[in-house]
Structure formats: C-alpha cells, structure tokens
C-alpha cells in the first residue's frame, strides 16, 4: 500500500501542485516568475520521488481500488523520469523566454504541470478509458499552451488546426475503445490480450475496427505518417518552450502508451507488424522530405521530430521480440528528449524578442558572437543526427540492434538511409552558425540565466546518457 502510494506519488505531486498553482494564480501577488520556479520545484521533487521509488517487476497500483488499470513498470518509471525532466527544463526555459516575450500569465505554468500529470498517467495506464481520460487531460492543456499567444495569428491558426484534428483523434480513440469493448467485454489490456490470444484478431469485425481506430489515434498523436501534416504548422505556431515540451514530453507519453499497448497484446503486435513496418518507413522518409525543404528552424525541428517518430516506430516493430526493446524505446526517448529540449532551450533565449530569429539564415555567424551557445546547439544537432559520442548515437545504435535482432534487417537499413539524409539538414545549421560571417549582432543582453543553465545541463545530459547507458 505504501509502496503503491510512493509509486503514484510523482503523479500526485504534479497534479496537486498544478491545482494549487491554479488557485494561487487568482491572486495578483503571485508573479509568473515565482510560478515558474514553483513549477520547476514541483517537477524536481516529483523527479526525485520517482528516482527513489524502487520497482520490482510490474507493480499493479492499488489493485483493490483501481482493479488493475494502473501498472507501474520499469518502462513507465523511465518514461515518467523523462517527462518530469522535460517539464523541469521547460518551466525554467519558459522563464527566460518570457523575459523577451510578453504574453505570460501564471496559468501558463500550471497548464504545463497539468499536461505532465496527463502524461504521467498515460505512461502507467493499462486500460483504454484511462488512456482516453489521460490523453484528454494532457491534450486540453497542450491546446491552450499552443494558442497562448493570443495576439499572434500563426499561433491562433496552429491551435485551431491542432484542436480540430486532435479532437478527431480523441474521438477515434473513444470509438475504438467502444468497438473493442463490444468484442471483448472489457477495456483492460490484459483482457484484450487474452481475447486475441484465444479468438484471434481477424475473427471479429469489431476487433479489427477497434484496433484500427486506436492505431489511428495513437499514430496521429505520435505524428506518424499519414497523420503527420499537422505537426509542422502546430510546432511552428506554438511558442518555443511549448514546442520543445510537445516534441519531447508529449512524444514520450504517447510512445509509452503505444509500447504498453503492443507489449501487452503481443498477438496484436504480430498482426500489425507489417502495417507498422510501412508506417515506420514512410514516416521517416516523409519527415525527411519535409525537413530538407524548410527555411524555418522550428519547422525543420518539427519535421525532424517526425523522422524521430519513425525511428521509434522501428523499435516498436521490434517490440516484444527481444528482452530489452522496452528499454531501447525509453533510452531513445531520453536521448532524443535531451537533444531536442536542448535546442529549444537555446532557442528560447537566442530567438530574440517576439521570436524574430526564425530561419537558418538568421543564425548565420552565431559562433562568432556566442561561441558557447553555438557549441551547445552543435552538440544537440550532432546528437539528433546520431554522431558519436552523443546520446543520439547510442539510441540509434540500440534501435538498429533491436531491429536486426528481431530479423528486420530491411527496416534497419532503411533507418540508416534515413539518418544519412537527415545529416544534411542538421549540418546545414552547423554550417550556418560556424562558416558564415555574422549578418547581425547577437548582442542583446541575456536577461535570465536559467535557459543558458538548462542548455548547459542538457549538454552534460547528452554525453552522460551516452557514456553511462544505465537504463539498458
């Protein structure tokens, strides 16, 4: 009982903290800077609790009350740690971001905490209705965060697109759950797994339809082909820290659900493996094609996020076939999160007032006036490109290993080809930063040192994750 409570504690800390923060924000006394530090503190506290809680195997939380809808496992713990770290860095880099951009209020931070609560719930959920609720908790908060800059037209466009399409995805999930319930008579993963094992997936049209709808919803949220088109505009419209948060925390939560769903229903994974194979390949190459043509940095990062979803799908294809695939996904998510968050942290203080610096050209010659920032961004880009000795390389290495080990040699080779293509647009930014003369001075004062500090911390993370791959 106490152990269960401790395992649930990060979620409780973040959730209760978010509610308290929301109530507190009705008072004018709470400045948004204080809110930022309180939120970061919440995440730090929850992170520490999560680190210290020990998990032996899969622990069903409060089995008598929740009857097995929440399960804590090593994988959910790792995913939770990544999400909490993402929240921590997002809160701190937002603080710096809002020194230069003026549309913040204290509610911004409690929304970040709400989203994190939804994500944490997602990583542990083993039941479809819980997933739906958690997904909506997370999505609602994210919708508002995307459209937080109300005076900005692009931001309004982004939130409209995301809201409508996201609502569709949510509905698809609900629809799929209903159909599966119709076939199985339960919404728990365990029961669904048993049903597929005994009856088979293709026997019941309800089951086929239900699984299809759920896949659509999850692929949409994971930004996989053919549901990837929204990503570019939404990431572009959202403010930099929110984009970073969506690209890392949200993706971690979605892939955690995806993996949980596929692992529990091992038979389901077998049936859909060909389907996932093509989705993975198309996701990688569609993302690459989009990324190559972008002039805006945020749009390029959005497209590269699609490509990374493709790599994670490779790991999903190999899920269940080897003992360490779950940790492969977690490891890759951590490596990817460190690199991506790092870039967004750096952008949140380098972007200038009202995000004036957007395109590749705007960052020409950054290395001359801001050598350390440029070096940090280079490290993050190299990590995303998968160049050793960064974390991104190790992540890619594990993914390729698990794919080849699962017999998916073609998929591994296609993944490699995709990462060769991706080198081009990552290098392009490095080339712009280093090999051109500065067209403008990057000499505006840095108003807050938190984002630079976060960037430095994430550089350390990128190397630390690589050199001490403890999670594997």
């Amino acid at each position: 009982m106490t152990n269960d409570l401790m395992l649930l504690m990060p979620l409780i800390v973040v959730g209760v903290g978010a509610i308290t923060l929301m109530i507190a924000s009705t008072y004018n006394k709470l400045s948004h800077e204080v809110a930022a530090f309180v939120t970061a503190g919440l995440f730090a506290l929850a992170f520490l609790v999560q680190v210290t809680s020990c998990i032996a195997g899969d622990t069903i939380l409060f089995s008598d009350i929740f009857s097995g809808i929440l399960v804590a496992s090593k994988f959910s713990k790792a995913a939770g740690l990544i999400i909490l770290a993402c929240g921590f860095f997002t809160a701190l880099s937002s603080q710096s971001y809002f020194k230069q951009n003026d549309f913040c209020s204290t509610e911004y931070y409690c929304l970040i905490a709400y989203a994190a609560a939804g994500m944490l719930l997602l990583t542990m959920a083993q039941e479809l209705i819980t997933i739906f609720i958690a997904l909506e908790i997370m999505s609602l908060a994210i919708y508002i965060l995307v459209g937080y800059d109300r005076d900005n037209v692009i931001s309004a466009e982004a939130v409209l697109k995301y809201l409508i399409l996201g609502a569709f995805a949510g509905t698809f999930l609900a629809m799929g759950s209903a159909l599966i319930y119709g076939a199985v008579g339960s919404t728990k993963f365990v029961k669904i797994g048993e049903y597929i094992a005994s009856v088979g997936l293709t026997q019941s049209p309800l089951m086929i339809g239900g699984a299809f709808f759920i896949f659509v919803a999850l692929l949409f949220k994971a930004a996989a082909f053919p549901f990837h088109a929204w990503v570019i505009d939404v990431y572009d419209g959202a403010s930099v820290p929110v984009t970073g948060y969506m690209a890392t925390g949200l993706k971690t939560a979605i892939f955690a659900v995806f993996a949980n769903f596929l692992v529990t229903d091992g038979a389901l994974q077998q049936k859909w493996i060909t389907f996932l194979f093509y989705i993975a390949v198309l996701t990688m190459f569609a993302g690459n094609l989009i990324a190559i043509g972008q002039q805006s940095l945020k749009r390029m990062l959005a497209a590269s996020g699609i490509v990374h979803s493709g790599y994670l799908l490779i790991a999903l294809v190999a899920v269940g076939s080897t003992e360490f695939t779950g940790s492969v996904i977690a490891y890759y998510l951590a490596a990817y999160a460190a690199g991506t968050l790092g870039i967004f942290c750096a952008l949140s203080y380098l972007g200038g007032a009202n995000e004036t610096r957007k395109t590749f050209d705007d960052f020409k010659g950054l290395a001359q006036s801001r050598p350390y920032s440029a070096a940090a961004i280079t490290v993050f880009l190299l990590s995303m490109a998968g160049i050793p000795p960064t974390a991104g390389f190790m992540g890619k290495f594990y993914i390729i290993t698990s794919a080849i080990n699962a017999g998916q040699v073609t998929l591994a080779v296609l993944g490699i080809l995709s990462s060769i293509i991706s080198i081009w647009y990552y290098l392009r930014l490095i080339v712009n930063m280093y090999f051109y003369n500065a067209e403008e001075q990057f000499n505006e004062p840095v108003l807050s040192s938190f984002a630079p500090a976060c960037t430095l911390a994430l550089v350390v993370c990128v190397f630390a994750i690589s050199l001490y791959p403890i999670m594997i």
Partner: protein, 505 residues
C-alpha cells in the same frame, strides 16, 4: 611503462583540445600547448615502440566493460599493424605546430582532437569503440575545413562530410549485423574484434555486410570510384588538414580493411579480392593521369596521394604476406613522404601566395635546403631505391605478381606514371628560369629545417635498412594468415592463376 599508456595517448590530446576550445587562450598559447601535448604523445609513443614485444598479438591491452548487456567494452590494444600507423601519427603531427605558427586557436585545438580520435581508431579493438572514434575523427576535419579552408570550402566541406558519414552509417549497420550474428551463433553479445573473426558468415546478407564495411573504408582511402570528394577537400582544406587527411586518416581506411574486413569476412574477401585489386589499379591509373593534367600544385599532390593510396590498397587486397607487409610498410613510407610534401607546399603557398604551378620556377637556386627536402620526399613518393617508398612498393608488386600476374604487371607499370608527373613538377617548380613571384622566396628557417630533418632521415633510413621495422610488422601479418578458421585457404580458384601461391603455408 605504465598500464594505461594507450588511453593517455588518446585522451591527452582530446582533453587538451577541448580545454583550449572553451578557454580564452591566445594563438601563441594554443600553439605551444599543442606543441607540448603532441610532443608528449610522441614521447609516449616512442616509449611504446621500444617496449613493443613483436608477439604478433595485441599488446598494451586495456579492457574495461562498458555496456555489459551488449558485451561492448572499452578495449584497446596494438599489434604490429596498428603500431606503425600510430607511430606515423605521433611522429608527423607535432611538425605542424613548428611549421605553422600564426593560426587560430580553433585550428590547433581541432588538430589536437583529431590526433586523439585517430589514435583511438587505431588502437580500438572493439568494433563499437572503433566506430565511435572513426566518426569523431571526422568532426575536427569538418570544422577545420569549413572554418579555415579556401574560398570554395563550403561545397568541399559538405561533400566530404556527407560522403564519409554515409559510408560510416552503412558500416554501423554492418557492425550491428555482425554483433547480432555473433549473438545468434554463440549466444552471447560481443563486439570485440577477435571474437568477430570466429564468426562463420555465409549467404548474401554477409556479402552485403561486407560491402557495408568496404564502402566505408573505400571512401576514406579513397578507392576508385569513391574518390570524388578528395580533390576538392584536399585542395580547399588548410594545409594542416590536408596533411592529416592524406598522411594519416586515409591510412586508417586501409588499416580498417586489414584489421576488420579481412579477418571477419575472409570468404567474401577472397571472393571479391580480384575486383578490389582491379579497382585499386584503376584508381592508381586514373588519379595518376589526372595528376599530370593539374595546374594547381595542391590539387596535383592530392591526385598523386590518391594514386599512391591505390598502390597501398592493392597491397592490402592481394591476400598474401608479402603484399600485406609491403602495404603496411608503404603506409608509413607514404605518410612520411606525402606528409612532408604537403607541408612543404604549405610553406611555399604561404610565402608566395600562389599554388599555380606555372607561377613558380627557379626555386632551387633561391632555396637549396627546401629543394633538397622536397626532392627526397618526392623521390620517396615515387619509390626510388634507397628511399622508404622503394621497399614498400617492391614488396607490394612482388605480392601482387604472386596473387595475379596481370595485377602485378599493371601495378608495376603504373608506378611509372607517378615518376612522370613528379619529375615534371619538380622541373617546372624548382628549375627552369626564375619567376617574379619566386624572386623573394626565402629558404627554410633553422627551426623549419630541423623540424623536417628527423622525418627526412627516417625516409632514408627506412629505405636503406628496413629490417628493424619489418621485424615488428611481420609477426602480426603472418598471424593474419594463420588463423585456424581462415577460409583464405579455400579461396576460389578463379581469383588466382595459381591457387597454391595465394596462401601461405
């Protein structure tokens, strides 16, 4: 001799380089730091050389488990093959700091990092560790080329980087394939090189994995038809980078073939050896002919270097002990001679602000010491008896004739092309009538002269008395052909005119 000497040689330059990058050091401080660190590495390497036992197996082994679940370890060691490439790197790299005195901080720092990374790639005995160093050594080259290169540096930078990374990533897939095969055959994860040699690989995927390795190394060497990045990169790069690329990094490509491809893919190697040797010969001819036509001094040397790498590659592909030993000998010979040529060219360019061959003339009378050094390095490069180049080329041609008479004859005759362009170049630059641009040309200063002297002496020494060097190489090359599971003994007959000559008893 202390225990972790290899780690120190690898990480001392890397750490020093990184510290220089983050510190606000001045140019002079950077230069002297670089000089001190590279000399320290040289001293340690000489110590290593004298302590080397020539057992043929890995010596100075360091092995620390790193990622236990996949059997990856921090595993270093050197044998007779890697020792000499390590020595070439350690002997040649300090020269740069003596010769180029006024470059930027990043220039020296990147040189240090590339030295450490190359040493790491040479010493690594675990495939993943090798891959990491192999990729890392490209990054300083990328930055040096892009930051300090010539006017058309950007296309050249992107070309070399994308080309090399593409090759490396294919190799990564092949490495992972080997690891997974090892797991399947022996039920444990391991990526160390000698374990991989026990693998029994067959089938088409093995052939594909073989080409995954070969393409990566062929790009680095560069072997025809993967040489297209070379002229641009060598020409646009600052002299020290060209020097690093041609003198050492290209050799690591050949080293990779000898160390990783031949022991692991012995069957595939025997199957495709003839094709590979022909590619080597074509590369020799093509780059040699291209070198004759060049107007730019540096571009000509670039093609010449590529042409000679073709000879070394042929030696490595001939599958017999003479050719392999000759190939390694030629690696050092080529590293020293080409290295000296590129450095001398750098001095020439710095003092006369031109690289066009027709702008020079009559330098021999203005700068006799410079001309003598250049002549010795050039003659070593074309393989004149009495210089280091002769021994290596002789052994390679000998081995090539044993392997396949046609290859042998082609290799031997193609060497003449090298003599043509080199001597013609020497005539145009150093003799003939003086040129206004070279009127003011100053001879090497005392420091420069003394810097080159040890290497020049080494070139002559290796040409006159090769035995001490060969005795350290031969045990390791002999071991390459003596492994119990070696299938070279069953090399397909069509690959050689006489089967009994292709293998060593």
């Amino acid at each position: 001799m202390f225990e972790h000497v290899l780690s120190v040689i690898i990480f001392l330059p890397i750490v020093a380089g990184l510290l220089l990058l983050v510190s606000p050091a001045s140019r002079t401080v950077s230069r002297f730091t670089g000089m001190a660190v590279s000399l320290a590495a040289l001293v340690l390497s000489l110590d290593l050389y004298t302590g080397f036992q020539s057992t043929g197996y890995l010596e100075f082994v360091e092995k620390v488990p790193w990622i236990t679940s996949l059997g990856i370890s921090y595993y270093l060691g050197i044998d007779g093959i890697s020792l000499f490439i390590l020595m070439a790197a350690s002997v040649l790299l300090p020269m740069v700091y003596f010769i180029f005195g006024t470059r930027e901080k990043g220039y020296y720092a990147n040189l240090l990092i590339v030295q450490g990374a190359m040493t790491g790639a040479i010493c690594a005995a675990d495939m993943i560790l090798f891959y990491i160093f192999w990729e890392v050594m490209l990054l300083p080259v990328f930055f040096m080329l892009g930051l300090y290169g010539g006017t058309k540096r950007l296309p050249a930078t992107l070309k070399i980087t994308l080309y090399t990374i593409a090759g490396s990533l294919l190799m990564l897939a092949a490495i992972v394939y080997l690891g997974v095969s090892y797991h399947a055959q022996f039920n444990e994860w391991n990526f160390s090189m000698e374990k991989m040699a026990q693998l029994n690989l067959t089938g088409e995927i093995a052939a594909i994995a073989f080409f995954g390795f070969m393409i990566a190394f062929a790009i680095k060497i560069p072997l025809f038809p993967f040489h297209t990045w070379l002229p641009d990169a060598y020409t646009e790069a600052p002299t020290a980078t060209t020097f690093v690329l041609s003198a050492i990094m290209a050799k690591i490509g050949v080293y990779g073939v000898i160390r990783f491809v031949i022991p692991v893919f012995d069957y595939e190697f025997a199957r495709f050896a003839l094709l590979l040797t022909y590619l080597g010969v074509i590369g020799m001819m093509y780059c040699g002919l291209a070198a004759i036509a060049q107007k730019d001094f540096k571009r000509m040397l670039a093609f010449s270097s590529a042409s000679h790498m073709g000879v070394i590659a042929v030696g490595a592909f001939c599958m017999n002990i003479q050719a392999l030993t000759g190939s390694i000998y030629q690696i050092i010979a080529h590293a020293t001679s080409t290295g000296v040529l590129f450095l001398l060219l750098g001095i020439l360019e710095e003092r006369s602000n031109t690289r066009t061959i027709s702008d020079f003339g009559g330098i021999a009378s203005k700068a006799p010491v410079f001309a003598v050094y250049f002549a010795i390095a050039m003659l070593a490069s074309v393989g004149l008896p009495g210089t280091s180049g002769f021994i290596g080329e002789f052994m390679i041609v000998l081995g090539a004739i044993k392997f396949n008479a046609i290859i042998g004859v082609l290799t031997g005759t193609t060497l003449i092309i090298g003599v043509c362009y080199m001597l013609w170049l020497f005539q145009r630059v150093f003799f003939e009538k003086g040129n206004p641009r070279t009127e003011q040309f100053k001879d090497l200063s005392l420091v420069e002269g003394l810097t080159f002297l040890p290497v020049i002496v080494l070139i002559l020494l290796m040409g006159i008395y090769p035995q001490p060097f060969l005795s350290k190489i031969t045990p390791s090359t002999a071991l390459q052909f003596n492994q119990p599971t070696h299938t070279l003994a069953h090399a397909p007959a069509e690959n050689a005119l006489k089967l009994e000559l292709t293998t060593e008893k």
